[in-house]
C-alpha cells in the first residue's frame, strides 16, 4: 500500500522547449490539491521552471529526458529533478558567475540557482558526470 502520508507522482519530460511548463503545471496542481497558498504555488512553479531550463541548457544530453519526482508530504512538497547530463560543481559556479557580473550593474544571466534558493525552503544539489539531481522542498508553512 502507498503510505498515505507520503505520496509520489513522477513526470518524465523530454528536453524540448516549453516542457518546463508541464513540470510547473503538475507541481502547481499538486500544490493546489495540498492546499498550498497561491504565492507559494507560484514560487514552486518558478523554481521548477528554472531547474528544468538549467537541465535543458546545461546538461548537454538533449537525448535524455528529465525526471521529476513530486513527493507530497503532510506538511511539504518535495521535488527531485534529475537529468542525465554532464553535471557541474556548485563551488565553481558561485565564484565565476558572480564575480564577472557585479561590476556591470544589471547582471543578465546566472540567476537560476539563486531564484530557486529564494523560492524554496530547502535546496540540495547532487551532481556528477553522470548527471544532476536537484532536491528541493517547499513547506506549507514556508518562511520564504
Amino acid at each position: 500500500m502507498l503510505d498515505l502520508a507520503e505520496r509520489e507522482v513522477i513526470l518524465i519530460i523530454p528536453m524540448y522547449p516549453n516542457m518546463e511548463l508541464a513540470a510547473a503545471q503538475t507541481a502547481s496542481i499538486l500544490a493546489e490539491i495540498m492546499n498550498f497558498e497561491e504565492n507559494h504555488i507560484d514560487e514552486i512553479q518558478f523554481a521548477v521552471i528554472e531547474t528544468c531550463i538549467n537541465a535543458f541548457e546545461h546538461s548537454k544530453r538533449k537525448d535524455k529526458p528529465v525526471v521529476i519526482k513530486f513527493i507530497m508530504k503532510d506538511d511539504a512538497l518535495e521535488l527531485k529533478i534529475t537529468d542525465c547530463g554532464v553535471g557541474f560543481r556548485l563551488d565553481q559556479v558561485k565564484s565565476s558567475d558572480r564575480d564577472g557580473a557585479v561590476s556591470k550593474g544589471l547582471r543578465k544571466r546566472g540567476w537560476g540557482l539563486e531564484i530557486i534558493r529564494h523560492m524554496m525552503d530547502e535546496v540540495n544539489v547532487e551532481s556528477s558526470d553522470k548527471g544532476t539531481t536537484i532536491t528541493m522542498t517547499k513547506k506549507k508553512v514556508s518562511s520564504k
Binding site: 518546463e20 507560484d42 512553479q45 528554472e50 544589471l106 540567476w111
Partner: protein, 114 residues
C-alpha cells in the same frame, strides 16, 4: 506563438503601453523586445509593460526585460512595469530591475509616473 503568448501594443500621446499575455521565456521575451524596439524606432521612449496576464516568467525572459531597460536608458527613456504578482515583484527586486525601472500596482499609476 506557442502557448498562447501574445503582445499587445497601445501607442498613446507620448507613451506606449505594452501588454503581455502568457509565459515569458526566450522566444516570447524576444517577441516583446521586438515590439519595444519598434516603438522606440518610432520615437517613443516612455514605455509601460503591463504583466497582468503573464504569471510565469523564466530567468531568460527577465534577462530580455533587462536588455529592454538598457536600450531605453541609452535613449534617456523610462520603463515602468505594472500588475506584477507578488512573486514576480520579489524576483524583479532580487535581480535589481527595481533600481532601473519603476514597479507600479496598476496601469494608471505606471503611466502617471512615466
Amino acid at each position: 506563438m506557442a502557448n498562447g503568448f501574445n503582445v499587445d501594443v497601445h501607442t498613446e500621446d507620448g507613451y506606449v503601453v505594452i501588454q503581455t499575455a502568457g509565459y515569458l521565456n526566450d522566444p516570447t521575451g524576444e517577441a516583446l523586445a521586438e515590439a519595444a524596439k519598434e516603438v522606440m524606432a518610432d520615437g517613443y521612449n516612455k514605455i509601460v509593460i503591463d504583466l497582468e496576464k503573464t504569471r510565469l516568467i523564466n530567468s531568460i525572459g527577465i534577462s530580455i526585460l533587462i536588455e529592454i531597460i538598457e536600450l531605453l536608458e541609452e535613449q534617456g527613456g523610462v520603463l515602468n512595469f505594472c500588475n506584477l504578482t507578488p512573486v514576480q515583484d520579489r524576483i524583479f527586486k532580487m535581480m535589481g530591475l527595481a533600481q532601473h525601472a519603476g514597479i507600479f500596482p496598476d496601469q494608471d499609476s505606471a503611466i502617471a509616473n512615466l
